[in-house]
Amino acid sequence: MAAPASAIDTTRLPLKPVDFSFEGPFGTYDRGALQRGFQVYKEVCSTCHNLDHIAFRNLADEGGPGFSEAQAKAIALGYKVPADPNDKGEVFDERGVRLTRAAALADYFPGPFPNEQAARANNGGALPPDLSMIVKGREGGAHYVYSILTGFHETPPPGFTVTAGKYYNPYFEGWNISMPNTALTDKAVTFTDGTPATIDQEAHDVATFLAWASDPKMEERKRMGFGVIIFLLVLSGLLFAAYRKVWKSAH
């Protein structure tokens, strides 16, 4: 990147090295991390961010956070979604407020804002991205999410001035990020399983949860791949034996 001679290079820093349970050919999602990560999303991130591609039923899916169907249903009941027209054909009440109903398993997580413009108006003009695609939609995936979330406390180098209304985060391209540095802090949540809620732990867990949200079929995929490759190796062995036998007299 060619930067103007006077400015400093604001290319994002190399992402933090951190281990995730789902990496490697046999890696699976850590259920505890998924459930804690969901709690972080629910209590912190969801204030501004959507989770568009995840339905409440997905919380009870195989290879997911491992909630029971009853638990997923209970979580859904805590959310309000826009209701269908009532028996008078109305979708707004007499005060002009949108009618809602409690969410069910088949519903998708409702976003915090009714539309993009409302989201921007509440976030200084910036649009908080949908988190259900963030891990596969960014170079570095879960490492990127973790690095951004834990990258705020570093003080900017001399010569770099943070733009008004933005925050310094060297893991974000350009170093100016619209997400506030108070978005995720130590003890932002109280984990139900008693895990100490350090910012590192919270970031690690929510990155795991969002990795699942991006790639919910990963465990099924790796498991099937293992069987497929074992099968192909055996088949290759048989074909090689057949090949040797057929060609024995040919050269």
Partner: protein, 418 residues
């Protein structure tokens, strides 16, 4: 298709069919008894592998098309729905998207193999030309396919590529508008690209049919590049090459499965998991890896029209190879000088691909990559237009063996067999 048919109908029914539609005879003569040089090596298994790739793309593609919605507002969502909610939809999509990369990997090996062993030389010019036509159709199909998920790279890739046509003087902008069906890439563009993406593979299949038909007239070339002289030089296609192709195909599928199940997004770009947004241009617009060498040529030339001509010329050149090569010897095994230029071309194409993947103003070892790409483009053209004709005339080839059988079996065995 050529030569003497050895098919004898065994039953009354087969005889009845044979007199009316001799399809069993065709299958027997082309896939069973077809005399094939006995010295074909691993690089000759890629023809069969490519047929497999085409079949996989068509089958998975038909299934995906049952669930995909070609609409600028719904396409991105429909792909995510395939990935999350359609039974084994993730498998179909990852096989299809990685299948495109595997298809190109195989086609590049197949093409370089043809180039190395002189498989384009008389009497096989039409096999080569049909092959280049298939390659061109593959590039078009892959490009249309990459647009369909309607991610950021889909949209901006489509914008960059269709805009190339606007470089044509006078009529260019009108052609671009005509291609888009709109004044920019949009819903109309997506729908026609989906239609063409569904159509072209069947045209490819038809040209593959011609490619194989043309192959069965002179028969396979071989690593020695010498003609088949006696039945001793050949083996029946079945079981010798069916089993050999099957074994190597299986190894290829292991690599394929490795990507599908363990690194399904390896060839992809994270930006394509962000929905297309005409208002936000990604910092670097990069095509899929298999188009990068041509993209590097295009970008290395400041003038847009000249860039398009250089890039197009690089593909047109491939059609002319049979007449650019003046050598009387086919195989590079006996062409010590050409062999070195050949490997330099392989490296050259990889360098071009690398340049195409980097941002425009990037540098390697302090050298601006745009200059590296320029030099590499010059070598690409020089290889075909200067080195091929000149080296063919000045090079002294090594002595060719008397026959394929003699080379494989040794003098005594070949003599004893006669």
């Amino acid at each position: 298709m050529s030569g003497h048919s050895t098919y004898t109908p065994k039953s009354g029914f087969e005889k009845w069919i044979d007199q009316r539609l001799p399809l069993p005879r065709l299958m027997h003569d082309t896939m069973q008894t077809f005399p094939t040089p006995r010295n074909l090596n691993i690089w000759y298994t890629f023809g069969g592998i490519l047929t497999f790739c085409l079949a996989v793309q068509i089958v998975t593609g038909i299934v995906l098309a049952m669930h995909y919605v070609a609409n600028a507002d719904l396409a991105f969502e429909s792909v995510e729905r395939i990935m999350r909610d359609v039974n084994y939809g993730w498998l179909m999509r990852f096989v299809h998207s990685n299948g495109a990369s595997m298809f190109f990997l195989a086609v590049y090996i197949h093409m370089f193999r043809g180039l190395y062993y002189g498989s384009y030389k008389a009497p096989r010019e039409l096999i080569w030309i049909l092959g280049v036509l298939i390659y061109l159709l593959m590039m078009a199909t892959a490009f249309f396919g990459y647009v369909l998920p309607w991610g950021q790279m889909s949209f901006w890739g489509a914008t960059v590529i269709t805009n190339l046509f606007s470089a044509i003087p006078y009529v260019g902008p009108h052609i671009a508008t005509w291609l888009w069906g709109d004044f920019a890439v949009g819903d109309a563009t997506l729908n026609r690209f989906f239609s063409l993406h569904y159509l072209l593979p069947f045209i490819i299949a038809a040209v593959v049919g011609l490619h194989i038909w043309a192959l069965h007239v002179p028969g396979n070339n071989n690593p020695l590049g010498i003609d088949v002289k006696s039945p001793q030089d050949t083996l029946p296609f079945h079981p010798y090459y069916t089993v050999k192709d099957a074994f190597y195909l299986c190894l290829f599928v292991i690599v394929f499965a490795g990507f599908v199940f363990y690194a399904p997004n390896f060839f992809g770009n994270p930006d394509n998991y962000v929905q297309a947004n005409p208002l936000v241009t990604p910092p670097d617009i990069v095509p899929e890896w298999y188009l990068l060498p041509f993209y590097a040529m295009l970008r290395s030339i400041p003038n847009k029209l000249m860039g398009v001509i250089v890039m197009g010329g690089a593909i047109v050149t491939l059609f002319l190879i049979p007449w650019l090569d003046t050598s009387r010897v086919r195989s590079c095994r006996f062409r010590p000088l050409m062999k070195q230029f050949f490997w330099a071309l392989v490296v050259d194409c990889i360098i071009l691909g690398y340049c195409g993947a980097q941002s425009v103003d990037a540098a390697a070892f302090g050298i601006p990559l745009v200059w590296v790409a320029r030099l590499a483009s010059v070598y690409y053209y020089a290889f075909f237009w200067l080195i091929m004709p000149i080296v063919g005339l000045i090079e002294t080839p090594k002595k060719l063996p008397a026959s394929i059988a003699q080379s494989v079996l040794g003098d005594s065995a070949a003599a004893a067999a006669e």
